[in-house]
């Protein structure tokens, strides 16, 4: 587990990360969401042991990570712009990584390389941005570290590649307990990958929850009540996060289980009602609006 406690980092009196405390459980895909400048990259670089926090701690399996080789052996960090040696090809980089990561699986690497149609003899500098990200991900996967930290790595990958990487992640999680930590400024990029999401804003964590928990505990209901009294009776006691009214049609977002909501609606007279599934985006909108933020402005643009 990666435990982050009260992590703070300032750059020239600007707080990039402000007292963040998060726990990243093993065998889950942790998504770190935030706008540009929210502190995602800084946080990942601190988790990777690249930069030293001003305050707080990062512990990887109970080991401090900064300047600790043993902790770093369990991490592979893919920066937003991964660096490859000048004039290097995939083979050159493989030789480097297999030198520094003892568990690096060369055979697996070349197998994946072929599968992803990446030429091992071609200069990496001639690769497209997406190809470079794929290659960096393959290095990360084949390094066989317990944690892989991806900074905006999935942004810009085409759906086929995303699916391919996602399958590999799933397989590696299943086989050896890989824990990916993925930072992105785009909520939709992470929706189908992450198990747990942390939302960073202005250096602080707005929320950190399991996706399933969030989905189960928030319901969106479209309903036409027979009368105002029915509506008051049905909604009384429910935690309403959001309510929209168009004519007689009410769209209500409530924090509650699906069964409880349906049971409550069954007790009143309704012309029509339906409990709708919520997208990750809608869940975030609801959660953050409660906290007083406009999520659309934060991460959806």
């Amino acid at each position: 587990m990666i435990e982050i406690h009260n992590l703070t980092k300032c750059f020239d009196q600007i707080k990039a990360v402000d007292e963040v405390s998060v726990a990243i459980r093993e065998k889950t895909v942790f998504g770190l969401i935030g706008t540009n400048g929210a502190g995602k990259s800084t946080m990942l670089r601190m988790i990777a042991g690249v930069i030293r926090p001003d305050e707080g701690t990062v512990a990887v399996d109970n080991m401090p990570v900064f300047d600790n080789v043993e902790a770093k052996k369990r991490l592979f960090f893919i920066a937003d712009e991964p660096y490859f040696f000048a004039n290097a090809n995939a083979g050159t980089m493989e030789r480097y990584y297999s030198g520094v990561y003892e568990a690096f699986d060369r055979e697996e690497f070349y197998r994946y390389l072929e599968k992803f149609n990446l030429d091992k003899n071609r200069k990496i500098s001639t690769f497209s941005k997406g190809m470079k990200k794929q290659l960096a991900l393959l290095f990360g996967i084949c390094a066989h570290t317990k944690y892989i930290l991806c900074d905006e790595t999935f942004d810009g990958l085409d759906p086929v590649m995303r699916q391919g990487i996602k399958s590999i992640f799933a397989k590696e999680m299943e086989e050896r307990g890989l824990t990916p930590v993925i930072a992105s400024h785009n909520l939709r990029e992470l929706e189908d990958i992450c198990d747990h999401v942390g939302l960073l804003h202005r250096g602080g964590v707005l929320l950190s929850k399991d996706l399933e928990d969030m989905k189960c505990n928030i319901q969106k209901v479209q309903c036409v009540f027979a009368s105002v009294d029915d509506e008051i009776k049905a909604l009384n006691g429910l935690e309403i996060l959001k309510k929209e009214q168009r004519g007689s049609l009410s769209t209500i977002t409530v924090r509650s289980g699906r069964e409880e909501v349906e049971a409550r609606l069954a007790t009143v007279d309704t012309v029509f009602y339906e409990v709708l599934p919520l997208s990750l985006e809608e869940i975030f909108i609801s959660e953050t609006e409660v906290a007083g933020y406009d999520i659309k402005k934060l991460i959806l643009g």
Partner: protein, 707 residues
């Protein structure tokens, strides 16, 4: 077999990233050693083919010397070594400038200490291996031409070590510069600041002391920069190259190399601390440590402003107002430039004004300290009871001094080692008088450089202005000159027991005569001269012209000279015994004719005062005022000889002021004269004694403007 993640694996991996540095280093080292060997030896071969060397042995010796010049100490090599130290140091750690590289290197499971060690050792390896390859190549080339012997090997080995240590200093300095900065340009600036800081501060102190302190003297002090390898190279590399003895070279070179090693170790220690404390996020910033910005600003701004101020002072013909303005303006501009450099943003030109204020105030404070002598430098005279001994150097007397190996040593160095005046009173009295006298009124060449050795163990050096024409001054100087401590300290002949070693012959000359005395007479002559010197004092030195000069010639072509005066009875008797004494005064009947040249300096001086434009307007430029006249009349020759003195015997004590510098006198002997003058010379130079130019000479050499 090494582990995939061992230190050597890290080194090997790092080498792959430094191929171009390997190539540059190898090319340079091959050029420096191999190229120079080819050029130097070819040149000697060319001379040989032209017949410059009479024997094969001479040619062989020249080849050895050429090989030593190419492979040994050289003042041409050190810029290459500095360049290699700088680029190897910068390239090795330049990954710290790039965030993407830092992300990679600092996230992989390789300890920072190991990464540092691998890059550092690789840098050394690149220099060492490329240097060895170059040296071996040079050796093979020299060996193939028979130009290698033990001396060449010893010289080359020592020079290689010298260059290696110089490399270490530059290498560490550059790595430290990389550690405290975040971009190449700023690194180069900081490297230059590190390199030039001490020499600059030294030069500034020197310039300000010379400009503002009347009593500042450089003699007796070893006030060269102590921590500048470049300064050492400029000062010593040429000297080491010229030295022939390996042991002597080692004596000079090893203490310097020891100092460099210490300097390199200090830089490395700072480098390591900076590396450990440097934040990864410093990549791309100008300065890696924010606290360093004001420190650098002050450290660069103040010396920079003072240096520019000193230049303005010289350029403005010593205007102190312009100097102060130059200091203020340059301090502000330097600070603004540094702020722009720190932020890579022209808008930051007036940022951090408090530190700019500190630089301006600091620079002005130093200027004021010198200008108004706030430290009391010029008024310093030690209390008599605090003085252990004194050494004085007269800028009007020149002698040559030699060490036990017959190597030349500077006068102040010799006097410092040998003169210990315990009678401090006359020197302190002269210093006291000097403070009440305006040095500008005295003209040049009238100062004593005084070294006060204090009982506390400290040493102070001051320049004391003295007026030779003042009777009180003359009395004090006579008291000093008459002391054995002074004479033993200034005349090496009096104390050097090894003066006979290598002595080949003794000569005596009154100008035209070159008489030879057997070397076995040296001790008798010396003893007589020392006894005669008991009558020597300042008045004699100032007012009396010597009548002759004794020269001792040595096997290594060095020589020593000492003067004989008319009153030196014992010396003259000894010379007469050896039939070598000839009076300074010549007999007119031996002279064929005398040519007198009047340079008319007074007319040239007038022209100078008119100014260039006026001279051009008057078309008076390039006028030759020289008037030459030959006198062959015996009576005239007699008068001229009575009024003149051999140039050969003028000026041991600066009494050149006792002769007329407007005239030169050329004395030509009759070919059939029995007088034993030097037949190799066509004429002999004489000078008129001040105020004794005969009227007929003045008239005959008067300048007449024919236009």
């Amino acid at each position: 077999m090494t582990s995939r993640n061992s230190f050597w694996a890290s080194c090997r991996e790092n080498h792959k990233r430094r191929i171009w540095v390997w190539i540059v280093a190898l090319i340079l080292q091959l050029l420096v050693y191999g190229g120079m060997t080819i050029v130097y030896l070819s040149r000697i071969r060319g001379y040989y083919e032209e017949g410059t060397y009479r024997t094969v042995q001479a040619f062989r010796e020249a080849m050895y010397q050429a090989a030593r010049d190419a492979l040994g100490f050289s003042d041409n090599v050190f810029p290459f070594v500095i360049f290699l130290g700088a680029i190897i140091g910068m390239q090795g750690f330049s990954y710290l400038y790039d965030r993407r590289k830092v992300d990679l290197y600092h996230s992989v499971p390789v300890a920072k200490s190991r990464r540092f060690a691998a890059v550092y050792v690789n840098g050394l390896t690149i220099y060492f291996v490329s240097g060895m390859v170059g040296l071996l190549c040079g050796m093979i080339l020299a060996g193939a031409q028979g130009a290698v012997n033990a001396l060449v090997l010893a010289d080359a080995g020592m020079a290689f070590l010298w260059n290696l240590l110089l490399f270490l200093v530059c290498y560490h300095m550059m790595i430290l510069a990389v550690m405290v900065t975040g971009s190449r340009f700023v690194t180069v600036c900081v490297f230059l600041a590190f390199s030039l800081f001490e020499p600059c501060v030294y030069e500034i102190c020197e310039a300000f002391s010379l400009d503002f302190y009347d009593t500042y003297a450089k003699s007796f002090t070893d006030s060269a920069p102590k921590f500048s390898a470049y300064y050492d190279c400029i000062t010593y590399a040429g000297r080491l190259k010229d030295m022939t003895e390996v042991g002597e070279k080692a004596k000079v070179a090893f203490p310097i190399m020891g100092r460099w090693l210490l300097l390199a170790a200090v830089f490395l220690a700072f480098t390591w601390i900076a590396y450990r404390r440097r934040a990864s996020e410093a990549a791309g910033k100008s300065i890696a440590f924010s606290w360093l910005k004001p420190v650098l600003k002050v450290a660069v701004g103040i010396p920079g402003a003072l240096l520019i101020g000193a230049l303005v002072y010289d350029a403005s013909h010593n205007s102190e107002t312009l100097m102060a303005m130059g200091i203020i303006v340059s301090a502000i501009l330097l600070c603004a430039a540094l702020e722009v450099l720190y932020a890579f943003d022209i808008r930051c030109i007036i940022k951090n004004l408090p530190s700019t204020g500190i630089v301006v105030v600091g620079a002005l404070a130093i200027f004021c300290t010198f200008k108004w002598d706030l430290t009391g430098y010029d008024s310093y005279i030690p209390k008599q009871n605090k003085v252990e001994s004194i050494a004085i150097l007269l800028d009007c007397y020149y002698d040559e001094y030699w060490d036990e190996n017959r190597q030349y040593i500077p006068a102040d160095e010799y006097i410092k080692e040998n003169m210990f005046l315990t009678d401090a009173e006359p020197v302190l009295a002269l210093a006291q008088m000097a403070q009440q006298t305006d040095i500008g009124d005295m003209g040049q060449g009238r100062t004593l450089h005084v070294l006060y050795r204090l009982k506390s163990g400290r040493e102070k050096v001051r320049r004391v202005a003295v007026d030779y024409n003042d009777p009180q001054t003359e009395a004090y100087l006579n008291r000093i000159f008459q002391s054995d401590e002074f004479q033993h300290g200034i005349f090496q002949m009096m104390t050097d027991e090894n003066y006979c070693d290598g002595l080949t012959k003794i000569r005596y000359s009154n100008g035209p005569v070159r008489a030879t005395i057997p070397a076995k007479e040296a001790e008798a002559l010396r003893t007589a001269w020392i006894r005669d010197m008991e009558q020597f004092d300042f008045t004699m030195a100032k007012d009396v012209m010597p009548c002759g000069q004794i020269t001792m010639d040595y096997a290594d072509y060095s020589y020593r000279q000492w003067y004989v005066y008319d009153t030196f009875a014992e010396t003259i008797a000894c010379l007469e015994k050896n039939e070598a004494f000839y009076p300074a005064k010549l007999n007119a009947k031996d002279i064929d004719y005398i040519t007198v040249t009047n340079y008319h300096n007074e007319l040239m001086q007038e022209d100078m005062e008119i100014g260039i434009e006026a001279r051009e307007a008057a078309q008076a430029y390039d006028v030759d005022y020289t008037v030459k006249e030959t006198f062959s009349d015996q009576a005239q020759i007699e008068q001229i000889l009575s009024a003149s003195h051999s140039t050969y015997l003028v000026s041991p004590w600066g009494n050149y002021e006792g002769t007329e510098n407007n005239y030169s006198v050329e004395v030509v002997f009759k070919k059939d004269s029995a007088y034993p003058y030097d037949r190799n010379a066509y004429y002999f130079n004489y000078e008129f004694i001040k105020g004794q130019v005969p009227d007929f000479v003045a008239e005959a050499t008067e300048y007449i403007d024919i236009e």
